[in-house]
Structure formats: structure tokens, C-alpha cells
């Protein structure tokens, strides 16, 4: 297994497209969630309906003490989409290049190879998470400095919890992309269906079903995208472009959300490993 981890990491770190994707992800996250919001907050359109207090809240939400909320909002939104795409690319390309057969006639065995891939993606998700937090922290510091405010940072414990939560969300989405690419043996279908699920399907289906009764609300509490949102909300809701427009506290606590996301992660990984182990490579 260690040999497979080393090999997979060797392969991942040399793939420029992944680093470009991660760089683009960080740039967009900071550009949209910080600087675009800052411009809107400081230069509201004439006749804007927002009250001064709301604009002020939008602006102070960009300061360092809100960096965890902002980063988690990013992880559940824009950055999460990139994580899904990274997961798809990591596995889908193996099928499109036919390198899956090159890999499988080497030594480690199929399960070890999948283990190596998932371990490498875990490390990559951590790099994405840390890049996001560092970029967000720098952006918030710049904005606070521009506004002449002193930078008050969250506690280290809260920061570590936030990083852990963001990593879990991003790693789950990466593994989801990996699993879809494994199932469809290609990238295009996996990205399409993955985006549709993350952005629309789960929310749309439960958005309709919850009107039929509380049972469906309870069922939704065991689905991954909902729990990514609950985990994010457990740190407080961020202000900004992709802030959740949901009133009231999240229906489940952070521990529940972590467990559900972890279960989904393990489930998707297990299905992927089973598919790789049992399917013919033609």
C-alpha cells in the first residue's frame, strides 16, 4: 500500500493541470468572496435596497475574525466544486488515457492501488484546504488593513476545527468525484452528474419532499450535501455571495454532520474500490 501511495503522489504532484485548477480555485474564491463582496459593500449601487447596517455587516464579515466562516462557506460552495472536479480528473484521466491497465499489471494489487489514490487525494484535499484558509486569511488581513481595522484572529483551536471541517467537506467531494469517474470510467459524465447532484439534485429533491412531512426532513439529515451545509453552519453563517439563506439554527449538530459525511466518504470509497477490484479492464 505504501508503494502505491508513493506512486500515486509522484503522479499527482507532477500534474500541472491539478495545480492550475487549485490555483484558479483559490484565486476565484478570494476574488469573489472577498474582493468582489468588498467592492459591492464599499460601492453600493445607487438606490440599493440594502440598509447601511447590512452593508456594514457584509463588510465586517470580511475581516479576519470571520475567516473560518468564510472559508467554510467557500468549501461548501465554489471550492467544493473544484474539489469534485479534481477528484474526477484524478481517476477519469486514468480511463481516458487507458493508463488504468498500465497500473493494474504492476505489483501492488487493485485494492492497494485504490488505497494509494485515496490517500494521495486526502493529502491533496488538505493542500486545497490550507491554500484556501491561507488565501482567505491574507485577503481578510488586507481588507481589514485597508479599512484601518486591527486584525482579530479566531483562536487556534477554532482555526484547527475549521480547517478539519473544511478538509472533510473537500475530501468528501473529491472522493465523490473519484467515485463517479470510477463508476462511469470517464470524466465528462462524472463531472456533469457530480455537479448536478451537488448543486441541484439533493437540494431540489428534498426542497420538494420536506413539504410532505417531517419524515423527509429527518431523511435529509442523512444526506451529504445537507450535512456539508450543517457542518458549515455549525461555525456560524457567513455573510457574502454564497451565504446560506436559511433562517434558524442547523437541525443537527457538528458531530452528526461529521459522522454522516465520514460515512458517505467511506461508502463512496468502498464502492469505488469494489468496482475497481471486480470489474474487467477492457
Amino acid at each position: 500500500m505504501l508503494a502505491a501511495v508513493r506512486a500515486e503522489w509522484f503522479k499527482l504532484v507532477r500534474r500541472r493541470a491539478l495545480w492550475v485548477t487549485i490555483g484558479l480555485m483559490v484565486a476565484l474564491a478570494v476574488g469573489i468572496e472577498y474582493f468582489l463582496v468588498y467592492i459591492v459593500a464599499t460601492h453600493p449601487p445607487a438606490g440599493a435596497a440594502r440598509a447601511g447596517a447590512q452593508l456594514s455587516a457584509l463588510r465586517t464579515g470580511l475581516y479576519p475574525d470571520s475567516v473560518i466562516k468564510k472559508s467554510l462557506a467557500n468549501a461548501s460552495g465554489l471550492v467544493g466544486i473544484f474539489a469534485l472536479i479534481v477528484g474526477v480528473l484524478a481517476q477519469g484521466s486514468e480511463y481516458s488515457w487507458a493508463t488504468v491497465k498500465t497500473t493494474l499489471v504492476q505489483l501492488p494489487g487493485r485494492i492497494s492501488i485504490v488505497g494509494g489514490q485515496l490517500a494521495s487525494l486526502a493529502a491533496l484535499a488538505l493542500i486545497m484546504t490550507l491554500s484556501l484558509f491561507i488565501a482567505d486569511a491574507m485577503a481578510s488581513y488586507v481588507i481589514a488593513t485597508i479599512d484601518g481595522n486591527s486584525a482579530a484572529w479566531p483562536s487556534v483551536i477554532d482555526l484547527l476545527k475549521g480547517i478539519g471541517a473544511a478538509w472533510l467537506i473537500l475530501y468528501f467531494l473529491t472522493v465523490l468525484g473519484f467515485g463517479l469517474a470510477t463508476a462511469f470510467r470517464q470524466s465528462a459524465m462524472a463531472i456533469g452528474l457530480g455537479l448536478a447532484y451537488v448543486l441541484v439534485i439533493e437540494n431540489l429533491v428534498f426542497g420538494l419532499l420536506v413539504n410532505l412531512g417531517d419524515t423527509f426532513k429527518q431523511i435529509q439529515e442523512w444526506f451529504p450535501i445537507a450535512n456539508a451545509g450543517y457542518l458549515q453552519d455549525s461555525f456560524g453563517r457567513a455573510s457574502g455571495a454564497v451565504a446560506a439563506a436559511v433562517a434558524g439554527p442547523p437541525p443537527v449538530d457538528a458531530a452528526h454532520a461529521v459522522i454522516v459525511l465520514a460515512l458517505w466518504l467511506v461508502g463512496v470509497a468502498a464502492v469505488s474500490a469494489t468496482l475497481v477490484r471486480t470489474r474487467d479492464v477492457t
Binding site: F10, V105, L107, D280, T282
Partner: protein, 345 residues
């Protein structure tokens, strides 16, 4: 199985145990928790290296690609699997490497089940067109594969030199020509210094000069103790490279043997005068079913050991024998005869 620990092919020594030559190879399955290695024997030259029994593969669409194929390949052979396109050669090789699972039948490759780490430790394979990570250089592609197998980077340099690719190893494989990819594919298959090298249509897509170079390369690889299993639909390629061949048609092995055995067959050409009398004698002795006339000569399907008896019986009957020799059919004749009109080139 020893443990989850892996330590592979870092040592390879030859020894004699009870008079028989065995190779000592450390494989994942033979590495114990404490890192010590258990002795595993790889068949000595002439011993069975690949054995399949009634191996079959039916795809989900109902296509029967391989139908009860039983085959034995011995260590040290350069075995050619010959058959027209779509005969089932690639499917068979995929089963031997564990890429696909047989529907029925059994196979043993290098002492293990196909695709198991034990088997793969001794097998290097290039199945169909070699596939590489296009953004990595040739050298980095091999370094990556070496990491999977826990091999040192020095092994990469050695195999690059063996296939004459050192000069181009720094370039991304996405920029390689077909011939360069094929060479790198062979280098990848050689990384583990395998006892069995499986090459599936290795000269596909090469120009004539490239084919000649590649054949020489494969011939060199087949010298010594290494066993080569080569599939091809190119008759002259197989004829030039292989020591033994199997002809496969519609997933079935239709014949197997050395090239001379297959080409020579069991036919004797006889020219004798007077022809009418000669025919009577031959048909009376061997049966009309075994005698045919071709280009003014008789063709007899009999055992070669009968040559002297045939000559004697004709002469004793007062017939002049002007020619008596084994039929020399080309491999192409045999191939067409065995595979019908499916071709091959």
C-alpha cells in the same frame, strides 16, 4: 500469504535445490512481517510457466471471445499466439494478466493465479497499445511504475538503455511517436526483470523499418532464460521470432507446436511413374482418403516415419519413384487452412 508488508523483487539469485535450478525472488506474498523472505521457486527452463485449462471468456453482450482454451507454455520459450483479428488473442492475454476475469476455466501464470501479486511479480506485460501518462516524461513514467513495484530508479536507467530510449527519456510521452511508445512499453514491461514477458501485437502501427528493429529487439529479449509470449496476426513476424506457436481461431486453439511441426504437417509429396499404378498402390496401402493429387504429384497424409515403407512398397511394385519428400507448406498456407478465410497478413 505472509503479511501486508511488501518488498518486491529487490533480490534475485539463482540457486540449486535438489539438483533443480530455482530462482529466489522476494515477492509481497513471500515477505514476512519481520521483513525476511521466503523462498519461492520460479520454474527452471523447460518447466511449465503458463498453464490454462478450458479457459473461456464470454462478455456481457454474449460474445464468446475465448472458448475453452487450454495451453501450456514452458519457461525459456518464445511462444507466438497467432490468429486473425478478433480471434481472442488479446482477451486471452488480458486474462493471463488479470485485467479481465475468465467466465470459466483455470489458469496459472508463474505459479500464481493471474493478476495476483505473486503472479504479477514475475510478469511484465504490454497489452495492445502501451498507455502512459502524457504529461510525464518517458523516464518519469518508468519511475512511477518503479515506485508501484518498489524498484530502484537505477532499474529505470537500465531498461531505457535496453530499448535504446535513453536519448528521448526526458521528453513528455505525449510527444512520442508510435515506435517510441512501443519501445517505452517494452521498457515498462521489462522493469521487473520478469520471468515472463507478454507482448500483445507489439509491432502494430510501426513502419517497416520500425518493425524490423522491433523484431530484433524482441529476439534479443527472448534469448537467455526469459519466456516471451507474443501475440500477433503477422505471420512472418511470428515465424522469425518464435520457437513455438499456437494458432487461435474464434477463441479456440486450433493447433500448437514448433513452426516446423506446424508447417511440415504430416504430408508427403510423392512423384512416381506410372502414375496410375502408383495411385493404386498408395490408395490400397493408405486408403483413398489419405491420397490426393496436387500439381501432378501425390500428396499423402501419413506419418513421416512411413517414408521408407512407402518408397519400398512402390519400388517393389515396379514403380519408379522420382520424388519423395515432406510437404513444405508456408506458414501462411497453414494459417489459411486453419483459420479459414479470416485472413491474417
Amino acid at each position: 500469504m505472509g503479511s501486508g508488508a511488501t518488498n518486491v523483487l529487490l533480490s534475485r539469485d539463482a540457486a540449486r535445490v535438489g539438483g533443480a535450478r530455482v530462482e529466489v525472488i522476494a515477492t509481497p506474498e513471500t515477505t514476512d512481517l519481520d521483513g525476511s523472505h521466503t523462498v519461492v521457486s520460479v520454474p527452471a527452463r523447460g518447466a511449465t510457466l503458463v498453464e490454462t485449462h478450458e479457459l473461456s471468456k464470454q462478455y456481457s453482450g454474449g460474445v464468446l471471445a475465448v472458448a475453452g482454451l487450454s495451453l501450456t507454455i514452458r519457461a525459456g520459450e518464445v511462444f507466438g499466439l497467432l490468429g486473425p483479428n478478433g480471434a481472442g488473442k488479446t482477451t486471452f492475454l488480458r486474462m493471463l494478466t488479470g485485467l479481465i476475469k475468465p467466465t470459466s476455466g483455470t489458469a496459472t501464470v508463474a505459479g500464481g493465479s493471474p493478476g495476483s501479486p505473486h503472479s504479477l511479480a514475475h510478469v511484465g506485460a504490454m497489452i495492445e497499445a502501451p498507455a502512459f501518462w502524457p504529461y510525464l516524461s518517458g523516464r518519469d513514467n518508468l519511475r512511477l511504475l518503479a515506485r508501484y513495484c518498489r524498484l530502484p530508479d537505477t532499474r529505470v536507467a537500465a531498461v531505457l538503455a535496453e530499448v535504446a530510449m535513453t536519448e528521448h527519456a526526458h521528453r513528455p510521452t505525449g510527444t512520442y511517436s508510435t515506435g517510441m511508445k512501443q519501445r517505452l512499453g517494452v521498457a515498462a514491461a521489462l522493469l521487473k526483470d520478469p520471468a515472463l514477458l507478454i507482448l500483445d501485437e507489439p509491432t502494430n502501427g510501426l513502419d517497416p523499418q520500425g518493425m524490423v528493429e522491433f523484431r530484433n529487439l524482441i529476439k534479443n529479449l527472448g534469448t537467455g532464460d526469459r519466456t516471451v509470449l507474443l501475440s500477433s496476426h503477422l505471420l512472418n513476424e511470428v515465424e522469425q521470432i518464435c520457437t513455438r506457436i499456437g494458432v487461435i481461431r474464434r477463441g479456440k486453439l486450433v493447433t500448437e507446436g514448433t513452426i516446423d511441426e506446424i508447417r511440415g504437417g504430416t504430408e508427403l509429396i510423392v512423384r512416381a511413374q506410372p502414375a496410375d499404378q502408383a495411385r493404386l498402390v498408395l490408395e490400397k496401402t493408405y486408403g483413398a482418403d489419405h491420397v490426393s493429387v496436387r500439381d501432378g504429384a501425390f500428396s499423402l497424409r501419413v506419418d513421416m516415419s512411413q517414408t521408407a515403407t512407402i518408397a519400398k512398397s512402390l519400388v517393389m511394385s515396379g514403380i519408379d519413384v522420382t520424388e519423395l519428400r515432406p510437404a513444405e507448406r508456408s506458414l501462411e498456407d497453414v494459417f489459411i487452412e486453419l483459420t479459414g478465410t479470416e485472413g491474417g497478413s
